[in-house]
Amino acid sequence: MASQAEFDRLLRSALREALERETGPDPRWTDSPAAQRIERGERAERGERPLRLLAVAALVATLATGAALLLAGQTQEPPPAPAVANGWIAYTVRQPLPAGGEDLDIWFSHVDREPRRAVGAPADTISQLCPAFSADGRRLAYARTAVEGSSQLDDGSGNVAAYRDVALVIADVRPDGTVVDRQTIELGDGVPPPCPVWAPGSERIAFGLPRTSPINPETSPAGSEVQVVRLADGDITVLPDLLATDLDWSPDGRFLAISGGRLAFDPGQSLPIDRLHLYAIDTGALETIAATDGPRGSLSWAPDGRALAYTSLEGLRVLNTESGEQAQLTGPYRSMHGIGPIWSPDGDRIAYQRSTFGEHHEVVVLEPGDPFDDDPPGERVHGAFHVRGESGRPGLEPFRVTWSPDSSYLLSVTWTGSLVAVPVKGDGPPIVLARDDGIVPYEGYPNTTMVPIQTWARELAE
């Protein structure tokens, strides 16, 4: 009988014999696909640099009799941007604690790397959650909190009193995925952990602090806030009494669009203040956009700054930010989970999520083209999907989707706790980046802000 040492020797000999017989394709560098790809990449990097949009806007509020808000100004067509590569992905993972309660930490994954813990420590009493990469991928903002007793962060009970030492943390991200905390903004006790939304240019972060829960809706948003933090000095601007369900910055960073009100499953439950709002950074003015009544939670600014898409009671709608004109992209649909619209970074597509039956839902990808075209196409839908699990059962349904930086994938944490990237371009299979590892689809309850629960950065240059 062979001993372990003998088996090792045999295995080593057989493996070497097996592999040494293989030589692979002709290894000449100049003929290799790698050399050609590198050459193409270097040619692209030597191309024009993108210029910031020079949108000069004057905010004009009109009477609320149906007239739309007008953003007047001029925009310049940006030159083609260099190719974007997909980098690190950050998401939240839950670990139950022996004494009850839970610990949440932030993990990183990557198409070319195994998942690993990036922020936090195993089984400690400090939770880190709701990560968001800055536009350049070099910084990560996230929420930090301790939870009193055995309370859980996302039990939907709205038990904000259990949160202690809540803070917004801004960290540097190195190309190897190392995260180094640089700035902490203390928010105190008894507030829900903030889910940050970076402004383009990375000078500001916005987040919502609701005081009510969509599960047990109150009739007043009183006490809720939107906070805008200027990172250079930590100055915080508070926009009071706005029960924000979604926030999105204009591409030039000069405006913060806010979907205000309460996520209303029943149109009859809409609050009087359910509207879209625009906060102007330069002037501090907060204006309500009339004729946008009954927004149902989500909004998304087009990458060229010319349009703002949002969910209305009649389906997806888009607002022309220059003329004030509005157009309908879809008919009415029901949505219990997920978000939308989300405009792809390249501006070509819009993704949103809608219910199929019960709580199950799918992701729909639209190609909006020119939404204000007088002769719109008959069909804008690019495709719809939900990722199936074993035996064809819809076991991997997406929670909230995020576009990859290169607009080729939609990323989501699924109901079973897997992290999946589904290709939108081409016919490739979904990529499972992490599976059943305690990934928590933290929806921010009682934080109603419908930000994505995972974030995908562009690849960092060395």
Partner: protein, 171 residues
């Protein structure tokens, strides 16, 4: 530093290291065409990361880390979304080992999870110690030991003689 000079001429570095890189990828992905793709991906990544090569380790280990990551990524892109099948510990017959044929060994590698295959290739093809393997796989030496132990148990089960053979030869 002297080691940095080894990759200063990246084309020469590629031609010198390609075959070993390809064989490493092949041991993990198991299909020649996939191995070729993964190897090209690895060299593109190595080129982009060449500034990170500090010269404090042989360039082979530095490159193998990139090759392993590229091979595992290639498998993830190929794998349809489905639950992983956990390889439960198998009952290993005592001393169950015979000289595995090349084909039997290659077939046996297929039953291992990709990261276990990577550990086997790094240990038994490259002769790396547990510490180096842990660095390459971005894990702990304890995990490396556990992966290799489970992998070898699995290989022994797959390569073990069947009961008839034992009855015929065991007397």
């Amino acid at each position: 530093m002297a080691f940095r000079l080894e990759i200063a001429d990246f084309g020469e570095f590629y031609e010198r290291t390609y075959e070993v890189a390809y064989r490493t990828a092949l041991g993990i992905v198991r299909e020649p065409s996939l191995a070729a793709d993964a190897t090209q991906d690895a060299y593109v990544a190595a080129y982009r990361q060449r500034a990170t090569f500090r010269g404090d380790a042989p360039p082979g280990a530095w490159l193998n880390r990139i090759v392993v990551n590229a091979a595992l990524a290639t498998l993830r892109r190929r794998r349809p979304a489905q639950r992983v099948t956990d390889l439960s510990p198998q009952i290993v017959p005592d001393g169950a080992a015979r000289i595995p044929s090349r084909l039997a060994l290659l077939a046996a590698l297929d039953v291992l999870p990709a990261n276990h295959r990577a550990a086997v290739v790094l240990r038994y093809y490259h002769d790396y110690d547990y510490g180096t393997i842990a660095q390459i796989l971005d894990t702990t030496t304890t995990n490396v030991g556990a992966m290799l132990s489970r992998a070898l148990d699995r290989l022994k089960v797959v390569l073990a003689p069947d009961q008839d053979d034992i009855d015929r030869t065991g007397r």
